[in-house]
Symmetry: C2
Subunit: 222 residues, 2 copies
DNA sequence: AACCTCGTTTTGGTATCCCAAAACAGTATT
DNA sequence: AATACTGTTTTGGGATACCAAAACGAGGTT
């Protein structure tokens, strides 16, 4: 695999895991040392990450994108019709075997698995449903949304009640898809998007001071 | 402005205007001569254009993206809920003065203006409506869709009947937004997306042989 | 003590250089 | 004549060198 993609993936992982704090300044020279490579592949990787919304320009230099409460609201507004459409198309097009795979994914999360696993599967669930729609643009858009929500979601999987709430919603959506009840599935997906938005904003507002104290840039209303 | 952005914009213009044919091979070395610059900014521009779907990798080298009929169908499926959402939000949030601006845009297209103008305004209409939604992700997504449809739309604006059909649909959408009839506006937007898809696919299938003869790669079903 | 000034350092942007792998073409072999 | 081989060319990927502009700081002025 090309060096640029390796750097992209590693840097992305560092950002999504909050190993690099939101708002942190990045210099191409520091990354050069960190990844033991020249600036050429680093700049390509930064350009990609900028497209994914994980890295931004600040004047002339680079910074890890801050967590933006306004953006989380806008994402929910954007995401709702996407998830509804994905779920409707999945009802029409998904084979039963496909749904089995997704159900297994959900089952893999029992209360003893680490938070990282809940976090990952909570993302993958939505992307896999989108995949069943057979529409690559829906997949790409929902994947993009989940990446942008990813850091905030660490807070969502922190408490058991949030996890359980999200999981029961996931199960209901999957159940309706399996029985072909597309309107019920759509309504449930729609509610899930709004509930998730509320959970994320509540958590972020509650922990805002603590996150700021750790040097994380949290911007946006409230 | 940075050289990379200049190259990006010019190359994009060459692709969208069909000055570079769909499917055409591009080498970094040729572009180097064409734009009188080094490969560094060229490679950055190509990476961007790849993200916009206008340029692809073919094995190890670059090519202008072919026109893909399957992609046009998938884009319509993806676009429909976006336009519906944008129109609904615009109903709730747009000021009357904003709508005046868009109406003027539409009025600027009389039968004597060149096709280029119809083409541009037909794109801008949708992006501007999206802007009224106040949601940057909707704007970016609809903008991305319109860019990907852009080359096929040259055929749509070719015949007067297509132009007039599209314009009357645009006017109906705008009218419903102005009177705050969000459900009617949504239904109309939805129909417009499907009608446009049908017009594009019909035109492409009709002209397929001719386009192929000009060296344009047209791929996909039918 | 506050503020301007000018030289130094650091930054990202660009050009150029080097390399390995893939494409190609000419040649020899069957 | 078809095919396998091999040396050459061309390709994109990466490293390095160079530049202008922005950021920074020490020293001098008020």
């Amino acid at each position: 695999m090309s060096q640029m993609l390796l750097i992209h993936d590693q840097l992305r992982e560092m950002i999504l895991s909050l190993d690099l704090g939101p708002g942190e300044r990045l210099t191409e020279r520091w990354l050069e040392g960190r990844f033991q490579s020249s600036r050429t592949p680093i700049r390509a990787a930064l350009a990609r990450l900028e497209g994914e919304g994980l890295v931004q320009r600040e004047g002339r230099n680079w910074a890890v994108a801050p967590i933006d409460l306004g953006e989380i609201e806008a994402l929910a507004e954007f995401r709702e019709p996407l998830e509804v459409t994905a779920v409707r198309l999945a009802c029409a097009r998904a084979a039963s075997a496909d749904l089995d795979g997704i159900e297994e994914m959900l089952n893999a999360c029992r209360s003893d698995v680490p938070r990282e696993e809940w976090h990952k599967i909570g993302t993958d669930f939505h992307v896999e449903i989108a995949r069943l729609s057979g529409n690559k643009f829906l997949v790409a858009a929902i994947d993009g949304v989940m990446i942008r929500l990813s850091r905030a979601r660490w807070l969502e999987v922190w408490t058991e009640s949030s996890r359980e709430q999200a999981w029961s919603e996931h199960r209901r959506i999957l159940g309706y898809i399996r029985s072909g009840q597309s309107e019920e599935a759509a309504r449930e997906a729609s509610a899930h998007v709004r509930d998730t938005r509320d959970r994320l904003l509540r958590s972020l507002n509650a922990d805002r001071r603590g996150l700021r104290a750790r040097g994380f840039a949290i911007v946006g209303a409230r």
